[in-house]
Symmetry: D3
Subunit: 119 residues, 6 copies
């Protein structure tokens, strides 16, 4: 079941290792800060993953959309809830977001094939 | 208790009336579509206002931040939850978001003076 | 005569069908609103397609550029007029637009191969 | 009849003089290139001012919107045509463009007071 | 010698205090990370302030431009070098950067009045 | 040693030729202006290439990042200095820059394979 989502995950992992191997203190701190942002706080990690998804969509970054879509699926957001969130991004960001909306819908299909959104 | 938030509300209302008076069908439809986006659906209106806030913050639009901050306050998000959401925007959008983060914190102060976040 | 433009059209159609199949009222309304935007009004549809092209170019979205380039060709804009419009986008948006300018020129070549811009 | 549009024009002129006084060859060439962009070519200057307006609106720059609105008025675009162009920007750029749309409508009012759009 | 630059500094300081008083761990870490970014590393702090200026200019944030202009002046960059850097931002970012270029030139005037760039 | 960097160079050259063949005076002037921007002036060409890299990174344009990375390598910036510059872009631009940071690190690997950064 090879697709662009699995290819993305592998490339992302491999490159993240190389980024850490650079051993640049500021870069490593930024990556850690980024991970910690989505841990439970005043908001739950689940809530914040959805915020991260919408931020990624209006800023039109497909890799970021894919990453947060998977996290949202893992956190238990339903397919309909995710689409409703992406609709907010579409209206705020305008028709320029449409290609990224289509991309996200395709990614959701890959996630479905992997067993997410079944209940 | 005059401040920039009340001035913003008045200007926004007055100009919205003028926008509707233009009687451009496409523009009116867009404004209606925008309002409907934040009504209950698969996600609640409350959840979507927080998404709108984060989208506004990463796109760095102070007027949009002010509008969604007030909506978030009305919907019952706490001060701490709003800050936690804005922190997601800060990390996704970077230090270029900082002036808008400061702006949002000032707006939250105005909302506090108006009685929000008291419980 | 297979190229990335025909691949784009096919993928775009297939994904648009899936987007409509989501049956999200807000999303469907936005897509309809978007289509209606380019119909004759105070400005002609032809004029508005050129505006859509320039908006797409300064916002640096290749898929949007390709879509509007084809619409501009269909509406009867000449190759020279389209390049003159893209030059406005280049100057407004700066050298960061250059890769998208090159992309657009390649797309225009594909459109030429399909018979556009012959008169 | 003092308003923010006349203040903008004065500040813009004064600062442009200072920019030229810097005597930086690259900067001066860029400013000249920018002016020449809106002269008649394959497209008329009139057509290109409308493109410049839409580019400014989706990139959300109020000063640029004000400048191009005045140029569009001078070139003979009607109030309705300008609104129809700004609607394209609204749909492409999304609700984040709304504050700039309102700003543009106010600027059009100032231009009306100055005698534009009367025929 | 009251001007918008001194007003900006005061407001920025006051609001930064309020941001720290929020006591949000992620926000505080981001602000610390941001400060540390401009300390000597493989590049000097002086070099990195100029990078921060250009990044702020192409992203079109006047507050960020003002902050980095002052830091660049303090680090010893000359007026001509700063203009040459801002010209890079102008060409990369396009004519949409012009209002921010004018803003930056005015800020440089305020800095001159305060005694910078005298040698 | 075929990779995406060599493919990018070839495509870029071929398309630049086609852009010049359009024989649009404004476009040609913009391309010339762009090249001249990175020549020695108040700042050295070497310094300005690093500014161009950071501007490209915060604006999230992979092709522009690749181009400026190669120029930075040719101008003699070390691997560590380039990473330190990219870290500025990461902090200013936020986590949305991360995919472009990873892309840049991969490009630096290709440049290493070509013999850069050996001393």
């Amino acid at each position: 079941m090879s697709n662009r989502l699995t290819a993305f995950r592998e490339k992302r992992s491999a490159m993240n290792e190389q980024v850490f191997a650079l051993d640049h203190l500021g870069v490593k701190r930024f990556f850690n800060l980024d991970s910690n942002t989505y841990k439970d706080g005043a908001l739950t990690g689940k809530q914040k993953e959805l915020l991260g998804l919408v931020a990624s969509a209006v800023l039109r970054c497909n890799d970021c959309i894919d990453y947060h879509l998977e996290q949202c699926a893992k956190e238990g957001w339903s397919h309909d809830e995710i689409i409703d969130a992406m609709n907010v991004a579409l209206v705020v960001g305008g028709s320029i977001v449409i290609p990224h909306f289509r991309h996200g819908v395709e990614t959701l299909n890959f996630l479905k094939e992997e067993g997410y959104f079944q209940s």
